[in-house]
């Protein structure tokens, strides 16, 4: 008897799982039931599963990490975790040790943090799913963009409002050039340009718009170059 009941139970559960999958197919914006369960469990902020921003538009990560929580609610600076985005060509991912710097204490009991600790204890790297990438023939330099006062959100969207990170911008060459060609109006960037121009001016050489309608950070003016070799080599 108990075996029959178990079978019935398992059939029922399988059916439910199937239904859940169908629900998934039709309601991609809704989070995975298992995931939302994990989130609600022990979550004092009780995220509403229906309102996870970005759900279904980006890959499921090995650990559910919410940028909304970290960058939005707690207003953490992007560079706190992606600390090399202004120095290096690569923004890079924070080391596990950095996460645990807070999470040894903060919400240490949550299932997601347990997963994090698991990775650390096993000495295993977290295999984050890559969202933003460029082909090998594109030499993208984060540092130069950050230093030119391009805001993170100009390419990554308002991640402080996103729970799940997805490819917010198309990252096509046309999209890159839209910005590289655009005459700049942004105050911060104009200020940066003025600083650069002043530096150039001191040395007796006038700033020059090397490329039509563009503002070129390389030559003391603003915006990006549209020379192919700036990115392709």
């Amino acid at each position: 008897m108990p075996s029959n009941r178990r079978r019935a139970l398992s059939v029922g559960l399988t059916g439910l799982a199937g239904l859940a999958l169908i629900a998934l197919v039709f309601q991609l914006q809704r989070p995975h039931p298992a995931l939302s369960a994990a989130l609600v469990q022990g979550d004092q902020f009780s995220l509403d599963p229906d309102t996870l921003v970005g759900w279904g538009r980006g890959p499921v990560q090995p650990i559910f990490f919410s940028h909304r929580r970290h960058a939005g609610v707690y207003e953490m600076d992007c560079l706190y975790c992606h600390s090399n985005a202004d120095k290096s060509a690569w923004a890079a991912m924070p080391p596990v040790e950095l996460c645990l710097g807070c999470h040894r204490v903060v919400r240490a009991a949550s299932s997601e943090i347990q997963k994090l600790r698991g990775y650390q204890e096993r000495g295993e790297a977290i295999p984050w799913e890559r969202v933003y990438w460029a082909y090998d023939f594109v030499q993208f330099n984060h540092g130069r963009h950050v230093r030119a006062e391009v805001e993170c959100e100009e390419c990554h969207g308002k991640v402080e409002e996103h729970d799940v990170i997805y490819k917010w911008a198309p990252l096509t060459m046309g999209w890159c050039l839209e910005c590289h060609k655009k005459p700049q109006e942004d105050e911060a960037k104009l200020a940066a340009a003025a600083r650069n121009a002043a530096l150039f001016g001191e040395r007796g050489r006038e700033s020059h718009g090397l490329y039509p309608r563009s503002i070129d950070s390389d030559y003391g003016v603003l915006s990006g170059p549209i020379d192919c070799a700036a990115c392709h080599y």
């Binding site: 090399n84 596990v96 650390q120 977290i126 082909y135 023939f137 594109v138 020379d227």
Partner: protein, 1004 residues
Amino acid sequence: MSEIKRRDFLKILGLSGAGTGLVGCAQEPAKKLIPYLVQPEEIIPGIPNWYASVCRECPAGCGVHVKVREGRPIKVEGNPDHPVNAGRLCARGQASLQGLYNPDRIASPMRRVAETGEFAPISWEEAEAFLAERIQALRQAGRADRLHFLTDAAAGSSERLFAAWMEALGSPNRLIFESFDLEPLREANRLTFGTAEIPSYELDRADLIVSFGAGFLETWSSPVQYARQFSRSHSFGDGRKGRFIHVSPRRSLTGSNADQWVPIRPASAMLVALAMTRELVADGHAGARGAAIRPLVEPFTPERVAEAAGIEAETVSQLAREFAESPASLALPPGVELADRNATATHVAVNLLNYAAGNVGRTVRFGPNLRRGRPAGVERLQALVTAMNGGAAEIVLVHGVDPIHTLPSAFGLSEALENVGLLVSFASYMDETAARADLILPDHTPLESWGDHSPAVGVHGLQQPTINPVFDSKHTGDVLLSLAARMGGDMAERLAWPNFNSYLQESWQTIHQEFAPSQSFEQFWRAAVSRGGVWREVAAQPVTLSRAVGGVEFDVPTLDGDATTPYTLITYPSPNLYDGRSANRPWLQELPDPVTKIVWNSWIEIHPDAASQLGVQTGDVLTVTSPSGRLDVAAFVHEGVRADTVAIPLGQGHEHFGRWASGRGVNPLSLLPVAKDATTGSPARLATRVALSATGGRSRLVVVQGSDDDQGREIAEVVSLAAALEAEEHAHVAIEREPDALVESAQDADPKSPYRWGMAIDLSSCIGCSACVTACYAENNIPVVGEENCAQGREMAWLRIESYYEHVVEENGHGGGHGEGAVHDESKGSHVVHLPMMCQHCGNAPCEPVCPVYATYHNPEGLNVQVYNRCVGTRYCSNNCPYKVRRFEWFDFEFPYPLNLQLNPDVTVRQKGVMEKCTFCVQRIMSARSDANARGRDVADGEVVPACAQTCPAEAIVFGNLRDSNSRVSKLARSGRAYHVLGELNTRPAVTYLKEVARGHEEG
């Protein structure tokens, strides 16, 4: 992650259409982002770390800086502070990365299974336990002396540890073996000057260098150091230029840089040197020094010697006169390939010449001596073979050497190994000796290990690991210490260090006391590791003529063979492959031999007269027979050897060693007898004559340079010293008049750009060593295509060295003159010009207008840019390029694991179907500009150094901004010797060449 979750994820991925697999036709990028667990403090992903270390590709001990990206060494460059190489490196040093990442490395300890005869991997624990047990058994039986240990000749801590280990074990049978030793030189110095040392030769102070054959620019002693010094004195500068006379039967790469080649008969260098000394003394140039040596050299008249040497007596007198009259002369001995049965006496003769001319203490300085291990002579090696055959070698350990490949087969070592009880190899690769071993305990490669090497007195190089071991290898020092611990007792007590690093640190205590006793050891050690070692100036010590020199017998050395063997055989170390240890490095196999331009093969160099006698052409297979052996090899006909001499390079002819080396070419050591220098017992390589006969067969020799003659098209230009001086004079006047004027090609960039990148190459400096070519491969992810593709002209080298045989042209000083020149070269061949050729980044580039998709264009900074993602592979650009520097990717060439770990992440790995070419290392320009930009200024002169210019031992390549009239490149481009290759096509190249200058014997 559980099964169901992954499946769900895949579904979601598929349904949401967010899969990245649908995009485009390009290769899929990596889809995971892997963070560090704990990020090392000094690492920022995307920014390289540099570690100082020591190059161990040959005994020269150059200092290196290793560029490491995310834990992977991707480039090796010279350490600018190091006294040996001052920031430069040769092709073999550049290729040390391919030793580290060689896919044919032995991946773990291996033991031969008795039943199958095949190797099977075992664990380190098993391997060490097994070996310790066997050695222990030998010791307990009181037969410890039946353990023999063969090592290379490195001078450093591992050397001392080997000695200590053998001593503790109680075996005297430690043998140092090195393919090319300098023992005859050392002994000659003991006989002549009473000091058994290798002095420092100061080539940069010499106005006239007479070399009796030493390949000092390629393989002899310390080639990078000598190349730099040579170029300092021999290149044209400040209105003067040194002169170099090569007195040798073969014109090697070194000889090809000579102003005059005197092709003497093989094994007659001693006589020529003695006759020159005699003339010097007879003419009174030797002053008081002459009296002591007069009786020694008196019998060697130029007339008598000339006949033996196969040259005119007048030539000998001319050499002697020039040598005496030069303000600073220097005579260099024959190299290792010309070491004959009386090598020590030959070196004594050269010493006497230097002594008579007063060079000792000036261009030959004792004190800052070179340090090399003392390799065993022929007798010790024969004793080892005898011991093996007699069953007295129960355990033989081999570290760092491959004696089966580098000893003449006449020694019978290969057969003797059959009788060795247990042959243990510490090789990192399956070399010929390792392939015969019973147990292999793979050592780390030098880039993975701690170590030190002292190449000269007062110079202590320190080697540090630059990467975690790529395979399951272990430092041999650690293995020996671990074995000692396992054996216990006395052995463990005397070798109680926990690991090799602690042994190393302890042996550096004495160096610490010598260099910085006031610092703590910890401070000193950290500083030494970060600098790559410690060094200090060493004062020269005066030496006097020793009485022992009176007893030296100047007997003409004998050569094996009789009337049936008319040709003398020279077997010389390959500039690329050395003694064969670099043979499994694809970069070096594909690097054209600097003299013959042959890739991936062996050949025999034969003079056209001899070839026509035999009726053979380049590519015809010859059977070479000596009294000791025979082999078949393809002929390469050229004028770089005497008609009575033939030459075969060493390095090829491996049976094992790896996919790129095995079954390739021949090993000429099978032709050599067991011959030794009469005084030192050091192996004699110039020892036999051979007979040649054509087999009638043909073999494909892939010669990548089509012609060594530029057909009068002024591709390579050489002028006399007088013409160069006059041209410089005119240029100087022009520069005085308009100091800020720019060269014409400076215009070829956007009017608003502060930069027009350009390059200047001084052909009077370039020695043709090809280090730049390999550096370019390493920096720019250039694939290796193999012999087959090279034969079809598909090699991918962005930079090549073209060598042309030119006649010296007298000019009217205004450039462009092309009259009958005064040829100062008495030898049959004329002046060799080595010309590095790469994309000229033309201002008016023929490749640009023919591209239908704008994949190649001129960028605002004057670069001729190739956009890979735009290129559709029509190859029109290549057809239209007069310099033939564009390369097409015919296939997706592979970088078999772990070679792919070497790839430079800053440079695109190109795919099949795109065109590529020299970019002037645009990634380095971008990075320098980005740095300068962050500081709010322009790129300063010297901040951008392309890989070729960085490594050039001769400092021939200068890169910079042509729009800055004060930059080095601008100044050189305005030189009187400046010209553009095929400039008449109005391509307006950014690369300016400075004409080669030949100095005749009447000029000074």
